[in-house]
């Protein structure tokens, strides 16, 4: 319980995360308004772009431990058992990301009259945040993790979608029936890999 509480306080007091959440919400509202004005009636359209905010959110949340003064050393001094610590980190990030994801999903889907798609979108965005956090833990640098994630989600995956769509983690953003399994599998694998590396690697 103490670990969860500590991790939660560390997350909610990071200014960069608050800024990311605000910018993402504002960008979603703007794009939802613009796509409604342009006559496009897809509630998931704006999320295709603003999921970038969730990738940044997850990467920053995880990499913040490893940047600047290397907070992770203090964290490990007070909580030396690494796997429970990593579990606590993942749970708290999911708990913080879920309301943020719900707000963004609602902003995007409700104006288009597709409120029914909001729960699936919330789940997808939360999973995406966890995947990004795993990348942040693996690379330990926010910028590098952001580059890698955005290169995948915004450059490589869209071009590969026609042929490999069912295997990509972000197909679920457009077509939940086709990509959900891939989203879950990618996030689970990334979390397992990051957990193992966090457990084994020198801090």
């Amino acid at each position: 319980m103490t670990a969860l509480h500590a991790e939660l306080r560390k997350l909610v007091t990071l200014p960069s995360l608050r800024l990311t959440a605000l910018l993402t919400l504002a960008a979603t509202a703007l794009l939802a308004y613009a796509s409604a004005a342009a006559g496009q009636r897809s509630g998931l359209g704006p999320l295709g772009y603003t999921q970038a905010g969730f990738l940044v959110f997850g990467a920053l949340a995880a990499a913040s431990e490893h940047q600047g003064g290397e907070q992770v050393r203090a964290t490990l001094l007070s909580m030396p058992r690494r796997l429970p610590l990593y579990g606590a980190k993942t749970l708290t990030l999911a708990a913080v990301a879920a309301p943020f994801a719900a707000a963004v999903a609602a902003t995007s889907t409700v104006p288009a009259g597709e409120a029914g798609r909001a729960p699936a979108a919330t789940a997808y965005l939360t999973l995406t945040t966890l995947l990004a956090a795993a990348a942040g833990t693996l690379l330990r640098r926010a910028e590098a993790a952001v580059v890698l994630l955005l290169a995948g989600y915004f450059v490589a995956f869209p071009l590969l979608r026609d042929r490999w769509g069912a295997a990509l983690p972000d197909t679920a953003a457009l077509d939940p029936s086709r990509g959900t399994a891939a989203s879950l599998a990618w996030t689970a694998c990334a979390l397992l890999a990051a957990g193992a590396v966090f457990h084994r690697r020198d801090a």
């Binding site: 960069s16 905010g53 940047q67 290397e70 640098r141 910028e143 290169a151 915004f154 450059v155």
Partner: protein, 253 residues
Amino acid sequence: MTAFRHAVRAEVRKLLGLPTAWLGLAAGTLLAPAIVLLNAPYTRRAIADGTIADPSDLGLQDLGIGLIGPMVLGVVIVSSEYTSTGPDAPRARQLTATLTAMPGRLRLLAAKAAALILVAAAQAALVATAVLTLTQVLLGGHVPVPAPARIAAAVLYWVLTALLAYAVTLITRNGVVPLTFLIVNSTVVSVSYLLTKVTDLAVYLPDIVGAQMFIRTADFPVRVAPVTAGLVMTGWVAVLLAVGAALFHRRDA
């Protein structure tokens, strides 16, 4: 002159010592050829059944996939100066050491720009060669070899994109914000492209107008002649660089 050459060499070495820059170099260099290769059977079918009506832009168009490379290079050459250097000196930033060695701030910016142009142009030439060769090998017969001037324009677009990222990061002094914005806006259906549907003026945004230096078949509401397009994009970069340089010159490090 020798002093400036030393400064440029120092900046190239600093840039090539950054792990994130290598990520940009690797992603920017490998993504475009890899995707051309993976999608080749699909592209061939699309040309055959007429989904791609005019294939003459194919090779040059695919270069855009690698633009993440110059964006990352332009951002990290600045943002690396502002991030904390390590656990032993949590508040120390590399910029302090850089400015101690090179107190002339505008000279430092010029050296950084020169280093960035060198690295980005080398990467662009490499990727252009790889992608155009692959296009000829895989889709030869369907796609004509583009004129040398258009290839040069594509390399210029690549270098200007790096300088644009450099200028924006000089203004923000943070890497994550410009990186996210630039990469999200470099997607196949970018925000700039959507804006061209709303107003014709959006054709003059730097990424859209720059592409018209060498792309002919994209559906933009207004066609801009290649030379004009190049001048407009250079204008954007010059203005942003001037703002970035003025801020860097005046602001506390």
